[in-house]
Point group: C2
Chain length 315, copies 2
Amino acid sequence: MDLAEEALKGSQLAGARLIRLLEDRDPVGIEGLKALYPHSGSAYLVGVTGPPGVGKSTLVDHIVAEFRRRQKRVGVIAIDPSSPFSGGAVLGDRVRMQRHATDEGVFIRSMATRGQLGGLSRSTYETSVVLDAMGYDVIVVETVGVGQDELDVVDLAHTTAVVSVPGMGDGIQAMKAGILEIGDLFVLNKADLPGADEAERQLAMMLQLREFGEKDWEPRVLRTVAVQEEGIVELVDALLDHHEYLGKSGKLAPKSEKRDFHFFVELLRAGASEKILKTAERSPGCRAVIEDLKAHRVDPYSAAEALIERLQCEI
Amino acid sequence: MDLAEEALKGSQLAGARLIRLLEDRDPVGIEGLKALYPHSGSAYLVGVTGPPGVGKSTLVDHIVAEFRRRQKRVGVIAIDPSSPFSGGAVLGDRVRMQRHATDEGVFIRSMATRGQLGGLSRSTYETSVVLDAMGYDVIVVETVGVGQDELDVVDLAHTTAVVSVPGMGDGIQAMKAGILEIGDLFVLNKADLPGADEAERQLAMMLQLREFGEKDWEPRVLRTVAVQEEGIVELVDALLDHHEYLGKSGKLAPKSEKRDFHFFVELLRAGASEKILKTAERSPGCRAVIEDLKAHRVDPYSAAEALIERLQCEI
């Protein structure tokens, strides 16, 4: 039996191996993904993002537990941008989640941002397709919301929860420019800290000013104290409200379509540019341009433009 | 007079505007870059990388001051990955550098990792070409070494200094897999903290084990206490030793060539894939595949492969 079949029958081991093969761009992994794809398309993707130290991992841990109480199977894709340097904290976070380790209804996958050939968003997309096809109802993508790569990842989710804590002050101001526009829910974690009311007021105010986002979904601010499991039920309710809203307003399918299409364009782009680079290597005109470039006789811009000008293509 | 000419005559204002136009992918910026390119090629690029909290900004501040004492003009490209959330600390770091603000021999440019169309490494490359052409002798690129994008940036430098602090323990272990292989110098900052000897021993041991890197350059471990300006002179000496080593061993020019070539390939890739996507949009066969994709009748992999198979190109 092949990996895709085993994964479809529920083997976490087979799923994990497939994901690893995909990360390595192994053709066996890609064949597996193609086999799984028709079985995907029903999972609910939740993005949980926020700066380091706001307690995302603990929050995700409890979100997972709450979804389990509601009989949902849950996948977690935890993206760990600090991996090359991770100072122990991140490992500790992962360990905390190990209470789900013996639960067949939970699949946890950590990803470093390094060594993901083809980028983080591709790996996250592929992993989500695998988990989706394996029948995980909810897939939580946990990520530090910094860097374009990371934001691309967030963009994959149906619902995005942005996590902050009281006392971020300038931090929240800075968020305004970036992450505010992609949030559907705003979680104020550690809401037992001083300054929670003020922080909630600030968040609410900035949300009133925002001119982007869904017109008919009012972004919500929710308070949690993840370490004490406070506010988790309400948070999961709010996630499901947003999911329901997307379904009822006909926005769920287009979001999934957009994700597939985005990925397709990326693949097309990558494959096409490989083909073109190979063509360029064989072209004497191109080799001459490269010689000029190496000798500093032409700048990279002009060199690339000249070749693109000459490029003829047809599909 | 145009921006490129003004920049060449030393106008920091013109240089800054050109960099901004390039970040916005404005054609005026690109024309400026082409004009500046022939004047570039002599700057020494130093990468300073390491996890948050090791004191990179303070270190860079003092490296700049030391190069100034040696009559070198210095550009700094500070990459701030936490920008969407920056909690004040980063701003504080920038402020610390302001003692160079009135020094015409220093040019400091901060970059967020967000909103850089075309990626961080492209912006860093372009900025370094501008500063290089403007006659800055040394360009220091300061970055948190996380994420592929960031490592691509580090890859642009002639010399890379990896900064850590005593007591990182697991962190250094984790570095092993990632950043160790790209370091030419290893700076143990805050070397007055307990555990410095142990940390230096660990670093030295791991460096002995590494099988990569330049065969004839022995990576060095240097101790600094940046806030007390200790070890800075020795660090700058070591940087210049490495620069000299690259020059004498004939490795300086190939490193620069590689940088230009890498950038050229990226531009060719991007330009070619744009052209192909436009061709694809006009192709009825391609439109049919996209319809199948939207209807979930075909997976993104098979869809992209089918089109790439059909792609004909010529340069």
